[in-house]
Amino acid sequence: MTQYILRRILQALPLLFILSFVLFAFTNALGDPLAVFAESRQRPTASQREEIRRRMGLDRPMFEQYVTWMVGNDWQMIDVNGDGSNIQPGTRRGVLRGDLGVSFVTRKPAWTRIEERLPATLTLMIPSYTITLVLALAIGVYSATRQYTLVDNIITGASFFFYSMPIFFIALMTIYIFGVQFSRWDLPALPIGGTGNGTTIDLIVHMLMPVFCLVAIQLAGYVRFIRSSMLEVLGQDYVRTAHSKGLSESNVVRKHALKNAALPLITLIGLDLPFLLAGAVVTERIFAWPGMGRLFIESFERADVPVMMAILMLLCVMVVVFQILTDVVYTWFDPRIRY
């Protein structure tokens, strides 16, 4: 097992290196990070801009910038003025030594930027994902054990409907009904955006609509998935055998069917979990939620390469980590699987 995990990590490393290089090349091609200064009140002069450029290493060829990003430049000397009069040692330690670089925009470490936004995204994503999974399991199993009944048909139809619904439609509708119209009708309206004034109660009130929208969108796909994998298992011979032995319906469903139907579900969860960290770009935009999705868009719009790279690499690493975790969890659920 340990050997297997080590092998998976070793296999993933070259992939991560290649990905980081390609992403670095792409994010660097987005535009001039110094362009943000053109709008600032104290606009730097051309020579000041050159100096900033040299300090940040932006005057270097892309490949050299990538090496600096990866291993740092504290073993190099930087000629800040360009004429040899002010030579300073480099300060970057590189990603491999845990330094993700400094944001071009805020001059804070890129990791600090992520630390500021990650909690907001997680307070939105963890509750909505948990609710989604619990509801999906309940509805999916219920609907699969009553295939082609009226309730099952209604559930299937509704999940199709919500599965096809773009998130902004349901988000704008809920805002319009519970935010706009409720206040017009003098009913207690829900706040339209933001995270509230800092108290837990207010935060929960602000979370109601975004969490509802995220659950409504995600739920449909999971219900469909659980229903179809449950149906497949319920058609198996061992389920018929369990029935014919006289086991109770709930016993068969929970112990024999659900445990087997859970395997593909674990794969799906393992694929989806890392992306929860990316936040929900559109939902966060609509509800003015200061999460990771907004952070990515903000740094994207200002060509803030270190922050973008930090987010992207965090996601890539998490994808690898969760793939390995999925394999480990698999062995618990299915004793036939051995590595």
Binding site: V180, R240, P274
Partner: protein, 317 residues
Amino acid sequence: MATVKNVQAAQPVPKLQNYEKGTSNLSRSLARLRRHRMALVGAALLVFVFGFVIVGSILIPVRASIYNEPARALQYPSGDLPFGTDVIGRDLLARTVYGGQVSLFVGVTAVIVQMIVGTLIGLIGGYMGGAVDSLLMRLAEAMLSIPQLFLALIALRIFSDPTQFPDFTLFGRTYSSTMIVIVFVIGLTSWMRVARIVRSVVLSVKEQEYITSARSIGAGNLRIIFRHVLPNCLAPIIVSATLGVASAILLEAYLGFLGLGVRAPTPTWGNIMGEANSYIGLWYYWFFPALFIMLTTLGINFLGDGLRDAFDPRSLR
């Protein structure tokens, strides 16, 4: 009672009906599709959406979609302007029609790009095997480990430099160059699943006897791929292409909604909604484009699900 119903194997296998037009796989699948109620509903929805856009484009001149009159800004729907007007007084009905043209065009063409790339990569990977295969599959894996929206945003910014790709005029109408760029961006960031599906079909087909016999009579690689392997992949390709149109339209709408998709003057359902995001209180501003996006994706998902059932020989219901 319920337990007996669940035992599928106990049900008698329904007899194949006699079909009028031949009994090829395709005609049998089409006959199954015609009896699939959900698929018919989906097709009807799509006919309605495409009909709305086509008939609208014939009845309403293009001018109406870009003509602005600030004096009539943000008007409530009325007899003259059934969908109301937007913030600079443009007719929202005309914009929904012409935005629909662009959204549907982007959705369909992006899927064509996606299918060509995905099928080629899947065919090459599955057929060649070895280093080529593992390289291509690693590439797919790498691209799947980044959210598609992030990838599309980055690619869109790099390739939509207006100085490099100027707006173009076609049949007397000016389009933003981002419209073409977005087709390729969506297509090239979503081929991975198709490639995997095609590859898995190729892997199972290539061990069959008829491939060996084709090779033994001297058929070349290209002939084997296009004559014997590709036709076997058609069903899964058609199904994922259908469903792919829905996700392409949605991705375009998300990009447009974020204000980073197709740029003005070209309207799309997504960027109309992006403009409307500041006017959530005026329901008619965002409701109609959102409704049409939903009807389209709903129709496509119904139809795609029906196609999947129709092509799957195990689902003889």
